[in-house]
């Protein structure tokens, strides 16, 4: 029996985890909240998720092909981006919104990931950035593009009018909290377990937390960012005399803190940095919700996404600020 020697560089052991394992684990972690969104919204939820994921897969494939690289469906990253984006969107039954969801997924991977350096080098969380892109598109459709819609009704919807996006069919807890609608605030238990006002990913805080702990258990992420972000909102809400429990449990805060702010690529590399990053997100969310909401500056949608996006841009600064001293460099 002839020996065949296998040669490679050391170290000769590896902990076994790969990036694609982590991506698939994120998808597993998103299963509980995806299921609750399906239970509550049914077909609307399916439509949104499928559109976003297909858009994300296509966006990645198209740009990678242009760059002369192979498509990379199997690593799960595009699917993760599409699914997370879908879960930040409100339900809608209007079929005309499908192109915009598809476009959101496409833009997320094509523009905010592949054209901004590719997986690992994108400065912004693609799902978050694309969520804001859709929000902006929605605003422009209202304020800017309306005349165009009239000019070319057949063409314009695909480009500008994204239909009922962000027009929630039901009042969200945040709207209730901000006094935008005259409705009773859902009970804390409802907010925590199952709640139909809000985006797909806001349907159950419990389902989000189950997913979060799965990722922590698997060793992919740590709790620093979510805990820092959520407790900052809690403390600031209490300081401003608002109900901190309602603030923490409503809107996309828990979902964003668990699944969007913990993205490896767009968050700091040290625990210290992660805590600062989380506090920053929490402070911005509180600012948007408490100050802007009251002053009619904002519609109360996308606050978490904006907060994460702004903090994404500050990651290099935070990493520099929190740089540690190497061993033996103390003296």
């Amino acid at each position: 029996m002839k020996t065949k020697l296998l040669v490679e560089d050391g170290p000769h052991l590896h902990q076994g985890l790969s990036v694609s394992d982590a991506m698939w684990d994120v998808i597993i972690a998103l299963v509980p909240v995806t299921l609750t969104s399906l239970v509550i919204f049914g077909f609307e939820s399916v439509m949104i998720i499928v559109s976003c994921v297909l858009g994300a897969l296509l966006g990645e494939a198209v740009v990678r092909k242009k760059k002369g690289e192979e498509a990379r469906f199997s690593d799960g990253s595009a699917m993760v981006t599409g699914l997370i984006l879908a879960l930040t969107l409100p339900p809608t039954a209007w079929w005309m919104a499908i192109p915009s969801y598809f476009m959101g997924g496409f833009v997320a991977t094509a523009v905010f990931r592949e054209l901004m350096g590719g997986l690992g080098n994108n400065p912004l969380n693609p799902a978050v950035a694309s969520r804001i892109f859709l929000l902006m598109a929605r605003m422009s459709s209202v304020y800017v593009a309306q005349p165009l819609v009239e000019i070319n009704e057949a063409f314009a919807p695909y480009l500008y009018d994204i239909g009922s996006l962000d027009a929630f069919s039901k009042a969200t807890p945040l709207m209730v909290m901000g006094g935008k609608v005259e409705e009773a605030m859902p009970s804390t238990l409802n907010l925590f377990l199952l709640n139909e006002g809000g985006s797909l990913g806001e349907t159950s805080v419990l389902a989000v937390i189950i997913g979060l702990f799965y990722l922590v258990y698997k060793g992919h992420i740590k709790l620093h960012i979510p805990v820092a972000a959520v407790s900052t909102v809690f403390v600031l809400a209490a300081l401003f005399g608002q109900n901190p429990i309602h603030h923490v449990l409503s809107g996309g805060l828990i979902f964003g803190a668990a699944f969007m702010a913990t993205d490896w690529v767009t968050s700091p590399v040290t625990d210290k940095g992660r805590i600062i990053f989380g506090i920053g997100i929490g402070a911005l969310v509180a600012l948007f919700r408490i100050l802007f909401f009251v002053q009619e500056l904002w519609v109360g949608v996308g606050g978490v996404a904006f907060a994460i996006l702004i903090m994404n841009l500050l990651v290099p600064t935070i990493d520099r600020m929190t740089a540690r001293t190497a061993y033996g460099k103390n003296e």
Binding site: L5, G10, H12, V269, Y327, G328
Partner: protein, 438 residues
């Protein structure tokens, strides 16, 4: 600042020590030829003292250098010099080596107690270490006589015996602590005497309670403490053992004497005792032969220069014929492309790993900035930054992240989910920086 009892970073590994830890040290049959590299140490290579065709005797000095930082080499078996030529070694380099055809009849060398270790002077200990060609046997292979001669203005108060054996799979130091405890304690006393140290800690990872117990029973000198240390890779890195036991950090670029410490490995201390007491040169060492793909794991007393193939054959060969063979520990050792490489003074193990354990990570992807390498780097470096900069060929910029301080423990590559060859990239940065400075 470091605190006594721990260092920042480091990880727990699957140790797989049970494969070989209960195998007593045994001797093996003679190989047909031995290959003695003229450089088995850090420092100047030796010049051969023999010619092709010469008869040499076991223990005879066959290579030497007049440089201070060097260590002579000896014939480990009697025989005839067959060739003096470059031969591959386990580090993947080609090194000028003396190849000896081993004689069938070996005179048995009997080492008698030549001198009492209580009567030797400091100078005699250093001289014996030099003559015997003793180098650090934990893998770094730094000449021991040089380590025992620190600058006069740097007094050494503490000897640390590195008995961590923090690399997975390896059990040779563990076996020596169980079977050669008296020799180890005697070697410790010689080390303390040579440098004038007042105390000694024998640092043993707490996954070897039997070794700790055995040495506690044997240490008959109140100045020698058996120090249990946490099992955490790379506890056996010289700097990290110092931090754990003494609570001090060795300044960047400095050697342990800067903090008053001398660190020596278990096998080295035993070799020093044998050199001083019996005049025995460094011509054999204990090698752990292990791994999931070796038929009979063992701890073997092997003559320096024995080809790896011969040792593998002695252990029944491989289970699967497709195998990775690592010489050294699995974290810092090298995979071999040729099993005709010799065991040298610093070779602590031969590890045969089956095909399913091959990482196959030639297809790595961009850094995901997950921070795993940053979190676990025991030198508190930013391996991610160095890795990315090396990819961009920006070696000047890497210097801001101190690649020269890297101890090459391999944790960064071990934890990287993008399977990036981080430690190889840091080694490359070191090479480029060194090349630029010359």
């Amino acid at each position: 600042m470091a605190t006594r009892g721990d260092f920042q970073g480091g990880i727990h590994l699957p140790y797989n020590k049970e494969l070989a830890k209960d195998e007593p040290i045994t001797e093996i049959s003679m190989p047909e030829e031995i290959i003695i590299p003229l450089s088995q140490h850090i420092g100047a290579p030796c010049e051969p003292l023999v010619e092709v065709g010469d008869e040499v005797k076991a223990g005879q000095k066959i290579g030497e250098s007049s440089e201070f930082v060097s260590a002579p080499v000896h014939a480990s078996l009697s025989g005839t010099v067959k060739a003096i030529e470059p031969r591959p070694n386990a580090s993947g380099d080609s090194v000028e080596s003396i190849v000896i055809e081993v004689a069938q009849e070996q005179e048995s060398i009997s080492y008698e107690q030549e001198r009492s270790i209580d009567e030797v002077s400091e100078e005699e200990i250093v001289e014996a270490a030099r003559e015997a060609g003793i180098v650090g046997m934990g893998g770094a292979s730094f000449p021991t006589s040089v380590k025992l001669s620190p600058p006069d203005d740097k007094p050494i108060d503490t000897v640390l015996i590195n008995a961590c054996e923090c690399e997975p799979y390896l059990t040779c130091d563990h076996r020596m602590m169980l079977e050669q405890g008296e020799e180890l304690i005697a070697g410790v006393k010689l080390l303390m005497k040579a440098v004038g140290a007042e105390k000694c800690y024998i640092g043993i990872e707490d996954n070897k309670p039997d070794a700790i117990k055995n040495l506690k029973g044997l240490a008959d000198d109140s100045r020698i403490k058996i120090q249990s240390v946490p099992t955490q890779y790379p506890q056996g890195s010289e700097k990290h053992l110092i931090t754990t036991v003494l609570g001090k950090e060795v300044p960047s670029g400095a050697l342990p004497f800067e903090v008053g410490a001398l660190v020596q490995n278990v096998a080295t201390a035993i070799a020093l005792y044998e050199a001083v007491a019996f005049g025995k040169p460094s011509l054999e060492r204990v090698v752990t032969v292990t791994g999931q793909n070796i038929k009979q794991p063992a701890n073997l007393l092997v003559k320096i220069g024995t080809p790896v193939q011969h040792i593998v054959d002695e252990c029944g060969g491989f289970i699967e014929n497709k195998t990775k063979v690592v010489v050294g520990g699995p974290m810092t050792g090298n995979a071999q492309s040729d099993l005709n490489v010799p065991i040298t003074k610093g070779s602590s193990g031969i590890i045969a790993l089956p095909e399913k354990m091959v990482k196959g990570n030639d297809d790595y992807i961009s850094c995901m900035k997950c921070g795993a390498c940053v979190e676990n780097c025991p030198m508190r470096l930013y391996p991610n930054k160095i890795s990315t900069l090396v990819e961009e060929n920006d070696y000047d910029e890497t210097e801001n992240y101190y690649p020269l301080d890297c101890v090459e423990c391999g944790i960064c590559s071990y934890v990287c989910p993008a399977r990036r060859p981080v430690v190889q990239q840091i080694k490359k940065a070191k090479g480029e920086i060194a090349a630029k400075k010359h």
